[in-house]
Each structure stands twice: as structure tokens, then as C-alpha cells.
């Protein structure tokens, strides 16, 4: 494929499901659910994109269509230059998929055996497999786990195994669906470091579906927000923060308890003894506010809080 061709192209994709509902003793009504409703976006090669959305927004449906295991009702998809549903098997050799709550490892066998089987499945030459395996074993710290049956691994250990399994055939594109679900802080951190490494060093395109905004904040420069099967936001994390209606907060500690400060361009939202909270639109600079405070009051300490990404996204969902 051409180097400038996007890794993923999605053009006006729709996907509907028929849901049968019980409506009385024997009667059943059919209802059409639009899981994906006119979705369009591109992902360039080497990008690391976060796909966000509330439950039922159509994220998983989208990922399933991108892997070719679900056919769109209408619209066009291309992944690494292939039509996913028509070329599912060929595509499978070039992409890696990790579903956080699904397992692709052999439950009763040690990790080592699963990896050996995957080499056969993906027809990876022995030397390339050995090199990739050595690298992932080191990066994911799997060395001591290789001979333990998967069923005896902890969730965090298994997850690292799943990710190695999805990457052993050195895919150009990696989908991760909720990769850090249920993991502790340390495991999450390690996994994020690893994902950043393969994105930067191997140039692997990564699409991350998650509810954990920490993943997105630490990993993705670009965010896609999906709600009701439509794209409601596409841009950088900064742009998401600066969306209309979001606010930044200046927290100021004064020398003594005092009445509400008065500063142009900001509004006091809360007072607690000597500490006061000022809110300003997220598009505005905090510098003039800080300067005024320092000039007119006896400031002991001062901090600026960016809008919590959770709040921004929650607001987007409500709007959508």
C-alpha cells in the first residue's frame, strides 16, 4: 500500500441491528437499533488514536467492522488498503486485536505454547518470530511467566500475554479494546509505557477503545468521541479541553481569610477560609488573572487546574 494512504478510512458507515422484544405472551415486536449511524473518519499511519464513548455508543460495533467480523449495513471501510469484511483473513495477518475482556490465549497451556501456536497460525518465519518474541518478553517482562499455564496468571500478567500475542506477527495496526480494564495502577503504567514504545519505535498505528480517560490522556494526541453511533468530536485532547462551556480553575491561597476577590475575566465559584476558587473559560489565558491577583492581594500560593477530561466528555455525551 502507498505510504501516504491512511491506515483506516471510514466513510459514512451505518450499521443497524434488529432487536426482537417480547411484547406480551406471544407477540414480539421488532425494533431497529442504529448502532453506528453515519460514521466517517480517517486514521493516518503511525497515529495513536483514542476512541471514546459511553456504553452502547457503537465503539465495539465499529471495531468489529474494522476487523471484518461484522459487515456494515451501508458505507465504505478500508483498513490498510483492504476491505475488511471481504478480505478478513488477509487483513488478519496485518492487524492485531486485543479485546480486554476476551482471551486469545490457550487457557490450559503455558504462554510459551500459545506463542508457538500463533507463529504457526500467522506463518511467521522462525527467526523473525524469535526476535519479536525476545523483544516483547523483555518489554512486557514476561520472562518468568513463559512456562506458567495461562489459567494460573493474574489478570495483569495475562493482559501482557494477550498483548504480546496480538503483536507477535508484527501487525501494522493494533486495536485495543479496553486494554487496562481491571488492572492496578502499576500494571496500567507499564502497559501504557509499552504501547507508547511500540507506537514510537515500530510505527505501529494504534486505535484504543477505552473508558479509562487516563489511558487517553497519557497516550493519545488525537481523540474521537462517538455517541449514538455518530462522531461528536474529532481533534486533539487540548481542543477537547477548550470546548465551549468548559472551564479552567485558578485556586488561590491568600494570607488571611478574606471576602471574595474581584478580578476581571474570572468568577469566584467557591471560598473556603483563605482559599478561593476562580473559574475562567478554558479558551482564555490564565496569565492576566494571575497577574491581577498578585498585584492586588497577598497571595501565598496559586495553582491552575485544567478541566477534568471526564467532565468534558460527560458534557459531550449529554450534548450528543
Amino acid at each position: 500500500m502507498a505510504a501516504d494512504e491512511p491506515a483506516i478510512e471510514v466513510v459514512d458507515v451505518h450499521r443497524t441491528f434488529d432487536v426482537r422484544r417480547r411484547a406480551g405472551r406471544l407477540r414480539r415486536t421488532r425494533q431497529v437499533v442504529r448502532a453506528v449511524d453515519g460514521l466517517s473518519f480517517d486514521v493516518a499511519r503511525g497515529e495513536m488514536v483514542g476512541l471514546l464513548g459511553p456504553n452502547g455508543a457503537g465503539k465495539s460495533t465499529t471495531v468489529k467492522m474494522l476487523t471484518g467480523i461484522l459487515v456494515p449495513t451501508s458505507g465504505a471501510l478500508r483498513v490498510v488498503g483492504l476491505d475488511p469484511a471481504a478480505a478478513r483473513t488477509r487483513l488478519a495477518r496485518r492487524i492485531g486485536v486485543v479485546f480486554g475482556q476476551r482471551s486469545g490465549l490457550w487457557w490450559d497451556l503455558p504462554l510459551r505454547d500459545s506463542f508457538a501456536l500463533l507463529r504457526r497460525i500467522y506463518d511467521v518465519p522462525a527467526d523473525r518470530h524469535a526476535a519479536a518474541l525476545a523483544e516483547f518478553v523483555e518489554l512486557l517482562e514476561l520472562g518468568e511467566l513463559m512456562d506458567i499455564p495461562v489459567r494460573a496468571l493474574s489478570l495483569g500478567q495475562r493482559m501482557r500475554g494477550e498483548i504480546a500475542a496480538a503483536l507477535l506477527h508484527e501487525p501494522e495496526l493494533l486495536y485495543l479494546d479496553e486494554p487496562t480494564i481491571g488492572l492496578d495502577v502499576v500494571s496500567k503504567g507499564r502497559l501504557r509505557d509499552f504501547l507508547r514504545t511500540i507506537n514510537v519505535e515500530r510505527g505501529t498505528t494504534v486505535v484504543l477503545t477505552t473508558h479509562d480517560l487516563g489511558d487517553v490522556e497519557r497516550l493519545c494526541r488525537r481523540v474521537l468521541v462517538v455517541d449514538h453511533g455518530r462522531l461528536v468530536f474529532d481533534g486533539s485532547l487540548d481542543a477537547l479541553r477548550r470546548l465551549d462551556g468548559t472551564t479552567r480553575t485558578v485556586v488561590v491561597d491568600l494570607a488571611t481569610s478574606s471576602p471574595q476577590v474581584e478580578v476581571a475575566g474570572a468568577v469566584v465559584t467557591r471560598v473556603d477560609g483563605p482559599r478561593q476558587w476562580l473559574s475562567l473559560p478554558s479558551g482564555a489565558s490564565a496569565a492576566p488573572v494571575v497577574a491581577q491577583l498578585a498585584a492586588a492581594y497577598d497571595v501565598v500560593d496559586l495553582a491552575i487546574q485544567e478541566p477534568a477530561i471526564e467532565d468534558v466528555v460527560a458534557r459531550l455525551y449529554q450534548r450528543g
Binding site: 468489529k64 490450559d108 497460525i121
Partner: protein, 275 residues
């Protein structure tokens, strides 16, 4: 990437089969317990059959030694052909129900071929691990009818492979059922009992009244126990042997074909549940 000629695929399936073998070989204590159970049940059934054959010698044209040998063949094949279900089909149904099947479909391998290879590996383990030892116990305690012609062993192995194939094809169809019904465990139990009776496992089909025997032989279940047992007992020889293996092959082709068609159909209208 171009798909490589047969050799590469075959190596893949061989690796999968070996994985299937090792999965079951891991559970040594369970295997030992199983061998014990098979041996005990084998003895109990032998005494029951001996009592029957004492009352009705030559029933169905078999003598008591044939009957006792049949018991141990049945015990050896019980797990090999997974008469009570189990093996991959529970797992397949489970993966369909939970949506894990999405991972399997996202692999560059054929779902049915993959599962078949794995099941062949499993059955090889069960034939060795659960078949040989109880049969040795049986041979120590009873007088068994071993084949006169050593080639019969070869024919038996072929017949067992076909029996496993038919059994696989049936279980694969049941497992796929999870695409349409949420819980296939009921099916598994019912088919288990049907197979227990119709395969000859409870009583060799030859002792049933002629009409019933003919009817049961027309079903695919006879291919699981009755047919391979008759091959080893040298009841099917010459053209009869070809007919016996042919009937197994016929069912294998028909049922595997049905599984393929159903897989295509399910994948086409796939709505992976959950997620």
C-alpha cells in the same frame, strides 16, 4: 501475503493438534482417575454382559468373548469420541456466547479446520491415556478376542479416526448452535443420552430386535462405537469392511459439510453477542 502451499497449512494444523493433545495431557490426576473409573465400569458391564450371554448364548451372532471385548473397546472409545460431549464444543459454545469468538474469527485460519485439528489431538490423547490402560486391565481380568489378522489394527485405527471425525462434526454443529440459542447445554445432555444408546455403548446394536438394529445403523451414531468395534472384532471384513468405513466416511462428509455451511451462514449474519 500469499498463502503458502499445503505444507505450511498442514504444519499449522499439526501444531494445533499437538496443542490439543498437550492441553489434555496436562491434567494427569484427572486422567488417572478416569482410567480407574473406566476400569471399574468396564468390569461391571462385563459381568452384566456375561450374565446376558449365559442366558442367551450367541445372541446377535456374537459369543461371550466378543461381548466382553466389545465392552473394553467401548470404554476405550468413550472419551476418544467424546460420547458425552465436552472437549472443544463446550468451549466453542462458550466463546460464541461471550463473544470471544470474535478473537477466533480474527485469525487467518479456518474455524472448523482449526477445531478439527485440535479435537484430533485431544482424541489421540484420550485413546492413549484413557483407552490403553483400561483395556490392559480388561485383558488381565477377562479373556478378550484379539484380531487374528494384524492388518485389522490398521483398519481399526482408520475407523476410530473416522469415528472421531463424525463425533467432531456432530459436536461442532451443536457448538455452533450457540449462535442461535443462548444456552446449548440442554442439547449437549440430550445428544449425550441419544449417543449413549444409539452408538451401541449401552448394548451392542446386534442384540436389539432386527428392525430396531437396522434403524439404529442408519443413524450417524453407530459410526461412533458400533462400527469401529465391529472392525476390531473382525465382524466387518472384506467388502463388509469397506462398507463399514464407507458409511463412516459418508456421515463424516455430510456432517462436516453441514458444519461448513452453517459456519458460513453464521459468520454472514454474525451478530457477535455481548460487547
Amino acid at each position: 501475503m500469499k498463502s503458502r502451499p499445503g505444507g505450511g497449512r498442514l504444519a499449522t494444523y499439526a501444531a494445533v493438534a499437538s496443542g490439543g493433545f498437550r492441553r489434555y495431557a496436562t491434567y494427569r490426576l484427572a486422567t488417572a482417575a478416569g482410567v480407574f473409573t473406566n476400569s471399574v465400569f468396564g468390569c461391571i458391564i462385563c459381568f452384566t454382559y456375561l450374565a446376558l450371554w449365559q442366558e442367551r448364548p450367541d445372541i446377535g451372532g456374537w459369543d461371550a468373548q466378543d461381548a466382553v471385548t466389545f465392552v473394553w473397546i467401548g470404554q476405550s472409545l468413550l472419551m476418544t469420541v467424546a460420547l458425552f460431549g465436552g472437549g472443544f464444543s463446550d468451549e466453542l459454545a462458550d466463546r460464541i456466547r461471550t463473544g470471544d469468538i470474535a478473537v477466533d474469527l480474527g485469525r487467518p485460519v479456518d474455524l472448523q479446520g482449526w477445531r478439527y485439528a485440535e479435537d484430533l489431538g485431544r482424541s489421540a490423547f484420550h485413546l492413549l491415556g484413557r483407552g490403553v490402560a483400561p483395556t490392559l486391565v480388561g485383558a488381565l481380568l477377562f479373556s478378550l478376542a484379539w484380531p487374528a489378522n494384524p492388518l485389522t489394527w490398521l483398519a481399526f485405527l482408520g475407523s476410530v479416526t473416522l469415528a472421531v471425525t463424525v463425533s467432531f462434526a456432530i459436536r461442532y454443529l451443536i457448538g455452533l448452535g450457540a449462535f442461535w440459542v443462548l444456552d446449548v447445554r440442554g442439547f449437549v445432555v440430550v445428544i449425550g443420552f441419544v449417543q449413549l444408546f444409539c452408538s451401541g455403548m449401552v448394548l451392542p446394536l446386534v442384540v436389539f430386535p432386527a428392525g430396531l438394529e437396522t434403524a439404529l445403523r442408519l443413524l450417524p451414531f453407530a459410526a461412533l462405537i458400533q462400527v469401529p468395534a465391529e472392525v476390531l472384532l473382525e465382524k466387518s471384513t472384506g467388502w463388509g469392511l469397506l462398507a463399514a468405513l464407507g458409511s463412516q466416511l459418508g456421515w463424516a462428509v455430510v456432517l462436516l459439510g453441514a458444519g461448513r455451511a452453517l459456519t458460513r451462514h453464521a459468520t454472514r449474519r454474525l451478530v457477535v453477542q455481548g460487547g
